[in-house]
Symmetry: D2
Subunit: 341 residues, 4 copies
């Protein structure tokens, strides 16, 4: 099946390569001619402009956008002037599902179809396949199935869930039509919210292990600090590369994220290459907005997001307020060196 | 290698079966004769008492305790009277690592060796193998390696971490000597703390998905309630069995816990068999104690534990205080039916 | 100064009474004739309809809306048909500040002025005065100053902040022009977010004190439960009415909320009149939305909101997921009676 | 009544001055002769050593220790050699209540009495009086009542709680016998836990207000960042000194901590004198330990403590783990400048 791909960044380019490898034809465009050329040499048909991309495709067309969430509206506006009724636009990036609903309505007015696809898999996706969470009209989604099949990891990527039998559901292939417009990105949004939480759980736990030697340090005691009561219980030098490695086999917390963490720690046990400024994209934030609208308690997912904010210094003024209060009521001066463990 | 096993509950019995299947000899005891008899028919050597178990073993003995954390001290006290210098006692349950340190010292005074083993794997461990986190004297741990090799999942249980090469480290087999006395249970403790956090991340996310249809309900507006501003964005009926299934393939949040969750939801999409009273054992609590002693922020791990407390009604009085305050300052009566979404 | 008041609920009626007592004229309307009649007998001029209210007022009019946030748009739509250019509409309820911005723009197109006033004070406000946080055009706010002066608590309500000197700023009177349209409700929104957090801090602490006798109970130990290690440290029967009373004098945590709590506990130490289902209105939720948009970490304010959700059972499905997971990996059955302390 | 005071730091010296002003005799000692001399000139009787202090007092003696929690055991050991049966030692510092229980038992063996007093009031206490939370034997506490009366703020410090009548309970004076040994410090411990939570609520809220102008900044959009969707709603420049001032009158969140915050912000609206490294002493940590032992959910109090840890950089390694994970699965490089709002 022929697919147009607009946006050939890390994700878009890898997806094209996977599609090509599975025998699909791809017409590709990116603002940077160099990346178009590179994929052309991999077997894709290049296009120097949106008009050219559209003109090289057979109707009804299926065109996949893989651009930053903030760039989708402009890309759509540019694209639709070239399209014909019946064409399908797929937004495979990280758009807010509310935008999908609006865009689908706008496109429908022009006889065009909108499909939203939450895509998980990261840089490993070209080899492993991508997990695809899809929203849109059922028959339109159905027409795109060959593309989804090629991008998805396939049945063999995980052992069959006990209780499933007979033919394999699409979820078992690694793609799922989740519901009407926006449903795909809604599910992907929550997926990323969960991802933040899972990541934070590992990160906090590893931080506890790393500090299991805190009893070896000097203990301070002053009016504001009580010494560690039992330093003899914190005398361990934990080997994090080995600990994350052993957890990969047989333990309850085995996961792909743990696999990756074991790899990162093996390579650099101190993780000295990282300063610890953790970015967040829109999904983690939108997940909380949904939770709040639904009145669903999300202590863990929220904490995971806020830790990222704090890692970038965003708690600074709040902390200054705390220090100011302490000074006001207790005459406490801030410590400049932390010996308050 | 010959191993004694005391405590033949869910975990102990499965471990004996795995050891037998790998060709090791097991002398087993439990307070309940019936379970001893059952394992005898599986090939173990039964013992009606601790004395008998000890007498049936060759010196130096290696005896594994698999009893509740609260029962270890008594079991040890009963056992040591029968042991001889050089014997090894392995605590494979969920003991607090601080108890390990104390017990190891006491046993050492009698010429005995203590080894603490955090064991993860659950009911699936007999087939999958157990992840073993070990603390104790290096040479003693070394002597027990055949047992650990048999219990652990083995190298094939996970793809090799990129960057590892040459002979397989013990962590790649699924067991690890983490450090001196208590180190095994310390690592297992943090492992369980992480487990709580990871579980909570999935649970919160699934709750958001389940309530993605909240816009279909009637919206209430009164002095204390503002209506959902955008009900049109919450019109989805999410299929949780399929969503958890699709996440198993290719997504960033794939994990064994997710595999299990997909299975549970397939079997019972409403999870009606569960009331939602979630137990916690000691590890989650001790993890926080360690974090606090070390001054390590653990927003996520704490929230996960507190949610379990709250699931059992433990926030009740705090909530009554909040209602009383609201009544005092605002004259708010409690709502008896919740229409405050 | 003459003020129109629409909405004579708990807050609206009390505010009218305070204005009357300070010598201002009030024309009042409510959907319920009985409450209009009651205020008439207190000295207000009653109006059976919006038209009548408007007709009884001198131009340019100042009309205060004190209706639920969800009812403001309809009230405004009904009202504006009767107004003349130059009239002022004041929204003193709990509207979302984003609605203020929209409404102010709509009103301006008709030559009308919008003022948003966040009003804090609760049922005690009639006697104590109301804290007023105000948004809108500076000159319009200025014209309403006599009303704000009458409603606000006045300079004497708190000792002067050290460092303030000379004439009293309006903030020292108890009212403040916070900025352009929406600024008043924005500040009130965050005020309520803080309120939730402060309330939760007291509630959690009191719950800890109440359970300081937990060591007197029977300790359970089984495979899933470790007993309380040190029951001898939890043998206290705390007198909460007296403890909250003593904290009112000299302690760092003295506050008006504490005063109210001490009163509630004195009256009913077990708070048996409350079931602990805690409502939340929009401000707490919108506060988090603002925090997330601004990337400001708000662990405490979020936790306080989520506890309210959970108090109403909204964590239920998440908890069922946790129980299902535990059953899947550990074979754990849910406990029906909680003995897991 | 005669009181001995050991430890003349910020708190101890102020308390002596308040006692002297109320007509009590004080015999005082500190390791630093200069501070002893200063109090001598204020009317206290100085002592160059513990032996001298004891010798200058009439039996049965009442001696108050006001030293850091970490220094109490040594101070007690030095002191008791000089005491006689029937003497009372009062620990008015921030000791862990578990230490009180142990020390009371040890002192009792020597015929001595132990009283634990949690003291709140800070640097303002000399003028305002101190809130005293007391644990120990009832008759011994009774004997010390004149001292407690003098130190406490007295009945006039707060309006009477509605429902209280007749003679004033000691709690209304500002001191309370909370229960047996340790009860005073237990209540003070929870008091401080609450204090952390209340402080954090204000700090987070003020941080939201301060960033209400975030829409004025440049919005970034790239693959990892979605721009602020509605910058028009974040255009406010909030005046924090005035906002905290207006909240002091009539609002639900009025408190002494707010009074102090308004003062700090008036003096320095940017709080530029503070770097935001927030110390914590033992009470906040011990409060959580109690909550965990009691299975009481404390989302808010925990978050408040962890924020302090994080303000001192203690989340650093966890954040590095998050960045490493993001790099592993998504190829994300860390941003060096934060434009991810």
């Amino acid at each position: 099946m022929q697919l147009g791909m607009i946006g050939l960044g890390r994700m878009g380019a890898s997806m094209v390569r996977r599609l090509l490898a599975k025998g699909h034809g791809c017409v590709v465009h990116d603002r940077q001619p160099a990346v178009v050329a590179r994929l052309q040499s991999d077997g894709a048909e290049g296009a120097a402009s949106l008009a050219e991309l559209v003109s090289k495709m057979t109707r009804p067309r299926a065109i996949w956008l893989m651009v930053p969430a903030g760039a989708v509206d402009q890309a759509l506006a540019d694209l639709v002037t070239h399209l014909d009724a019946g064409d399908i636009v797929i937004d495979g990036g990280n758009s807010y599902y509310r935008d999908d609903i609006r865009r689908a309505k706008d496109l429908a007015a022009a006889g065009l179809h909108h499909v939203d696809v939450g895509t998980s898999g990261g840089v490993a996706g070209q080899a492993r396949g991508y997990c695809l969470m899809i929203g849109g009209e059922a028959d339109v989604v159905k027409r795109l199935e060959p593309v989804f099949m090629a991008l998805a990891p396939g049945v063999g990527a995980a052992p069959r869930t006990p209780g499933r039998s007979g033919g394999h559901a699409s979820a078992e292939q690694g793609f799922l039509h989740c519901g009407p417009h926006g449903a795909g990105h809604f599910v992907k949004m929550v997926h990323n919210g969960i991802e933040y939480g899972v990541m934070a759980a590992y990160a906090e736990g590893l931080n506890i292990l790393r500090n299991a030697n805190v009893g070896k340090g000097t203990q301070t005691a002053d009016a504001e600090t009580t010494p560690l009561r039992d330093p003899e219980f914190y005398q361990y030098e934990m080997n994090l590369p080995d600990i994350t490695e052993v957890w990969r086999r047989g333990s309850v917390i085995g996961s792909w994220l743990l696999d990756l963490t074991a790899g990162a720690l093996l390579h650099d046990p101190q993780l000295g290459a990282y300063g610890g400024r953790v970015s967040d994209s829109g999904e983690g934030r939108w997940t909380l907005q949904a939770a709040i609208d639904e009145a669903v308690p999300t202590h863990v997912l929220s904490a995971a997001l806020y830790q990222r904010f704090a890692s970038r210094g965003e708690a600074g003024f709040a902390n200054q307020v705390l220090s100011a209060m302490r000074h006001e009521f207790g005459g406490h001066a801030e410590k400049t060196v932390d010996d308050s463990k």
